[in-house]
């Protein structure tokens, strides 16, 4: 196999794997931009994956399945919003609780929503249809970049949603409002913005994206349900948000690097190349890169004020009567 074919297939594998990550990371960027840290991504993705799969299994309607996944993901994140925004609870603790609750609930429901004839319920069931790849004629035949035009509708959706998120957050008035709430809620409130409303809304939207990210796995990439099937992707999302420095445009670079390295370690092994570094090293290298990027960002941010900084009010509670 030549280098061009190798690269094309590597890109295709990266896109297939990265779609779910990108949705959830976009969601978390929205949430964190408004000043709310949601560590509940893993649980939210898992519950979204379950909701999507269970709905598609029962109704056979994939669009409805997506809506359910988003709805369930949103509902779970509303609990987080209630605790963090209304009750002003510690966001880290609440997020961790959401992950544990979401994962546990998904496991519980996964053993109950399937046919009783199958002892393990939803696990091991197959879907009648899934989101398959759609190739765009001619474009899909281009070497390497052709892989971009032979993906599922869920991935095509990202081609719109990622630029939109960047434009929305940085070039619109409403985007500025979100950033203001995340940077300095006191000033935002003084300008007459309802900090709570903004934070509720973008925590909800973040959860919906996470649910969608989970559904990408269970309806497209791995069309099945397994307990713990997200395999820690919700935690990668948290790292990716930092990696991309809270910028939706850079999220794409992040998911390509994270998804790419995972795919690369398999492609290298499958091609029979001797690895210069052990496969285990490649396995954790995305996290190593995150640490390096974080270090680099901190150094650059010291020289150039405001560059790569996290939202200043991230993970802090706010109330109008705070002193």
């Amino acid at each position: 196999m030549n280098a061009i074919d190798f690269s094309t297939r590597l890109l295709a594998a990266t896109l297939a794997m990265g779609t779910s990550l990108t949705y959830a990371t976009l969601g978390e960027v929205y949430t964190e931009k408004s000043g709310v840290l949601n560590l509940g991504m893993e649980g939210t993705m898992l519950l979204g994956a379950l909701a999507g799969f269970a709905t598609a299994f029962k109704t056979g309607n994939l669009l409805f399945a997506l809506i359910m996944a988003m709805g369930v993901g949103g509902a779970l994140s509303l609990i987080h919003a209630f605790l963090c925004v209304t009750m002003r609870a510690n966001q880290v603790v609440s997020g961790l609780a959401i992950t544990m609750f979401g994962s546990g609930l998904a496991n519980f429901l996964g053993q109950r929503l399937g046919p009783a004839s199958n002892r393990y319920n939803l696990t091991g069931m197959n879907l009648s249809s899934k989101f398959s790849n759609i190739a765009i004629p001619y474009l899909a035949d281009i070497p390497i970049v052709g892989a971009l035009f032979d993906v599922s509708i869920l991935t095509y959706g990202l081609y719109l949603l990622v630029p939109f998120a960047w434009f929305f957050l940085y070039k619109t008035r409403h985007g500025m409002v979100i950033r203001a709430v995340g940077e300095n809620p006191r000033t935002a409130a003084a300008m007459g913005i309802s900090v709570s409303r903004v934070r509720y809304l973008y925590t909800l939207i973040g959860g919906m994206f996470a649910g969608l990210g989970g559904a990408c796995l269970s309806l497209s990439f791995i069309p099945s349900w397994n307990d713990g099937m997200t395999g820690g992707k919700g935690w990668i999302v948290i790292a990716l948000v930092i990696f991309s420095a809270w910028n939706p445009a850079r999220v794409v670079i992040g998911t390509l690097v994270f998804g790419g390295i995972t795919s690369l370690q398999f492609s290298i092994q499958a091609a029979g190349f001797k690895l210069m570094v052990p496969a285990q090293f490649l396995g954790f290298s995305p996290y190593l890169i995150t640490l390096l990027v974080l270090t680099a960002m901190t150094i650059i941010a010291k020289k150039r004020k405001g560059a790569f900084a996290s939202p200043a009010a991230l993970a802090t509670a706010f109330a109008i009567d705070d002193k």
Binding site: R9, A13, T99, T123, I222, S224, M229, F266, Q269, G272
Partner: protein, 364 residues
């Protein structure tokens, strides 16, 4: 974190069970029922490794009916908290405890030393105690047979193998599989991809996709989910299952065959020996003769003469006329590791850390 909480709940639950039992039937016929504790590394719903153990447990329950009562502990981490789970099972009245994963062994031995009146059964390890046995099966024999089928059905002669960890068990399986492949097609190769996880549906699938991308047209696996097999049949290629009958679960004839476990055949006689009072500590490595292992029904896509050849080989192994690691064996650098006429010892098989000729990949 999640496991911690789950564990805490389990501990609470088990102690509740124990407490309830104590107050309820103090003088009743509690000792007429043998309580059996079973510890699984993953949820039985993985449709793989723990699933097959649970099938064994179910077979055992059906065999003994009212005489046994089983307490299942699922998704228990392989660390010191497993000791507490075992202690709790003992508190709940279990007289014998099974644990199905390698790294429980040290913890099980610790508990076994503290409770000489309870029997312990550890699967896939080597530690023992006067009241603790270890047991496993010669799955490599089935791997060899499935390798023969894979080689016959592969047009490209390139076969992929998704492996979990580079443990002797997995390496031995890959070697046996490859020897089977090479017996049918001496030019065929087996390319190995390590996922470094027993259970992660998306990584397992990705490993298979990378192999398919490289032109492999049969995918075998040593993983806990059906994803590698599914990835193969979705592309119109062939798959070899593992643990359970993947042909049935995936619902596709392109799953050619699955090497399967039959744990019930160990659990039933073991429980019987406890009931009879004849239980003895042993290191058990069961093979074809005890039907600890077997092949699933072979797909109708496999030609009849091939099925016959597989059955003949299986009979030879059953009658102990021949075995997988007998005769000259070269490693994948070409060096002779075993001279012709020699038979590999159990100890050498249990610690094997090199690949046979025909495997593309490295153990480390």
């Amino acid at each position: 974190m999640k496991r911690g909480i789950v564990l805490l709940l389990i501990v609470l639950l088990v102690s509740m069970v124990a407490f309830g039992q104590g107050s309820k039937d103090k003088a009743s016929a509690a000792d007429a029922v043998l309580k059996v504790g079973v510890i699984y590394i993953s949820p039985p719903g993985d449709m793989g490794y723990s699933y097959m153990h649970d099938q064994g447990t179910i077979a055992m329950e059906q065999h003994f009916g009212d005489k046994v009562e089983v307490i299942r502990m699922e998704d228990i981490p392989e660390n010191e908290s497993s000791e507490r789970v075992m202690e709790n099972l003992i508190d709940a009245g279990c007289k014998i405890i099974f644990a199905n994963s390698y790294n429980y062994q040290q913890y099980m031995q610790n508990v076994a030393k503290r409770h000489p009146n309870v029997y312990f059964e550890h699967c896939s390890g080597y530690l023992d105690n006067p009241n603790m046995s270890n047991y496993f099966g010669r799955m490599y024999q089935m791997r060899y047979l499935s390798g023969m089928i894979a080689a016959r059905m592969s047009a490209s002669g390139k076969i992929g193998y998704v492996g979990a960890y580079n443990t002797p068990e997995v390496v031995r399986g890959i070697n046996a599989f490859t020897l089977g492949v090479r017996a049918i097609n001496p030019k065929a190769t087996v390319t190995v991809v390590w996922t470094n996880t027993w259970f992660d549906p998306s990584l397992e699938r990705q490993g298979a996709i990378a192999l398919l991308d490289q032109g492999c047209d049969v995918i075998a696996q040593h993983q806990d989910t059906t994803e590698p097999a599914k990835a193969a049949v979705e592309r119109g290629k062939y798959a070899i299952g593992y643990n359970a009958d993947f042909g049935k679960i995936v619902g596709d004839e392109r799953v050619l065959v699955s090497p399967m476990w039959n744990w019930g055949n160990y659990m039933i006689p073991t429980i019987q020996s406890v009931l009879d009072g004849t239980w003895k500590s042993q290191s058990y490595w069961g093979g074809l003769e005890d039907e600890m292992i077997h092949l699933s029904p072979i797909s109708p896509l496999v030609p009849a003469d091939m099925v016959k050849a597989v059955e003949a080989k299986q009979q030879e192994m059953h009658d102990k006329k021949w075995d997988v690691f007998w005769g000259e064996i070269r490693d994948n650098t070409g060096a002779v590791r075993q001279k012709s006429g020699e038979k590999m010892s159990d100890e050498a098989m249990l610690t094997i850390d090199w690949f046979v000729e025909g495997v593309i990949g490295s153990v480390y």
